[in-house]
């Protein structure tokens, strides 16, 4: 399969994602420029973390109107896979490819730490390599990761199993203390209704080797590869 990783002005983790895909997972991956419209036949498009357009106005609000995003939206509408990590998750929400929105952390502080997330639904292209309720250790680093959605929307995404990962403690319980940013229902990542678009605040690309402190992120990338095979 082919991967495309989009570089926006202000993206930080595009090259880390490329490293995870190419060097660790031996995938055919390349960078896509935000001003281009060509996805170069990518089967899965990754929107990486960072501070696209300086986070001006709202995180992801400007990036959503980049020329490449038009192609990403069309790719998603055709059923193509899209993964948004951190700022990429914010962009996908702003582009209305995912429900809800991300706002300032409850603490108002930027958070950089390791969290545990529980895989809530393994019947998706992004989680099929994980066991039901498997716990993954992943890093987070964000100032605006508090997930919110209107009540009825929240009920809908919970009922349909669109919440793919939730912040939990070491025993797997979604306690308030284990919720780093105050996200509603401890939501760390959601998929769209047809499960081909997924966004999450934790960074799987930073957890792909023991040297990086863990390999929890491989589960997400391996799921995508497995689903495509």
């Amino acid at each position: 399969m082919k991967w495309g990783v989009v570089s926006f002005p202000g993206s930080l983790d595009d090259r880390d994602t490329l490293y995870a895909l190419r060097d660790v997972l031996e995938q055919d991956a390349e960078l896509l420029w935000h001003k281009d419209r060509d996805l170069r036949n990518a089967d899965c498009v990754v929107l990486p973390g960072g501070f696209s357009y300086g986070d001006y106005l709202r995180c992801g609000a400007m990036a959503r109107f980049s020329p490449i995003m038009e192609s990403v939206v069309n790719h998603a509408r055709r059923g193509g896979l899209v993964l948004g990590i951190c700022n990429g998750f914010q962009i996908l929400c702003e582009a209305h490819l995912l429900p809800g929105a991300l706002t300032r952390n409850r603490s108002l502080s930027f958070i950089c730490q390791r969290v545990t997330v529980r895989v809530e639904n393994t019947q998706t292209p992004f989680t099929c390599a994980a066991h039901p309720r498997e716990l993954l250790r992943l890093p987070i680093k964000h100032g605006e990761g508090l997930y919110v959605a209107p009540e009825d929307e929240l009920r809908r995404i919970e009922d349909r199993g669109q919440v793919l990962v939730r912040y939990v403690d070491s025993t797997g319980e979604p306690t308030d203390a284990a919720n780093p940013n105050g996200s509603t229902h401890s939501i760390a990542g959601v998929a769209n209704g047809s499960f081909n678009v997924f966004g999450l605040m934790p960074h799987p690309e930073h957890a792909v080797e023991p040297m990086l402190g863990g390999e929890g992120g491989l589960k997400i990338f391996r799921s995508i590869i497995q689903s495509f095979a």
Binding site: L57, R58, A61, F65, C93, E94, P99, G100, A101, T103, R104, N105, R106, S107, L108, L146, V148, A149, P150, E151, G182, T184
Partner: protein, 81 residues
């Protein structure tokens, strides 16, 4: 035409900045303060032949970019209207 746009978090949406401001005001002794909501204020000029035209233009700006209507409400004033 000068337009003033006010963007505020929707009622019911968590507003951690508003809460922090409320707590700070209370710690300063302003005990009568109620819930605080923190929003954005945007001022812009728009070339339009009438304030009605300006208003419909600004409404589109708000819907498309200035506000995220999932979590924010907006209102605006066209000066001189």
């Amino acid at each position: 035409m000068r337009v003033k746009v006010y963007i505020t978090p929707k009622r019911g949406v968590l507003d951690p900045q508003g809460r922090a401001i409320e707590a700070s005001l209370k710690s300063l002794g302003f005990n009568d303060v109620g819930p605080v909501r923190m929003g954005k204020y945007i001022e812009l000029d728009v070339a339009a032949s009438s304030s009605t035209d300006a208003a419909s233009e600004v409404k589109r700006m708000c819907e498309q970019l200035l506000a995220n209507t999932v979590i924010e409400d907006y209102r605006f004033e066209v000066e001189g209207a």
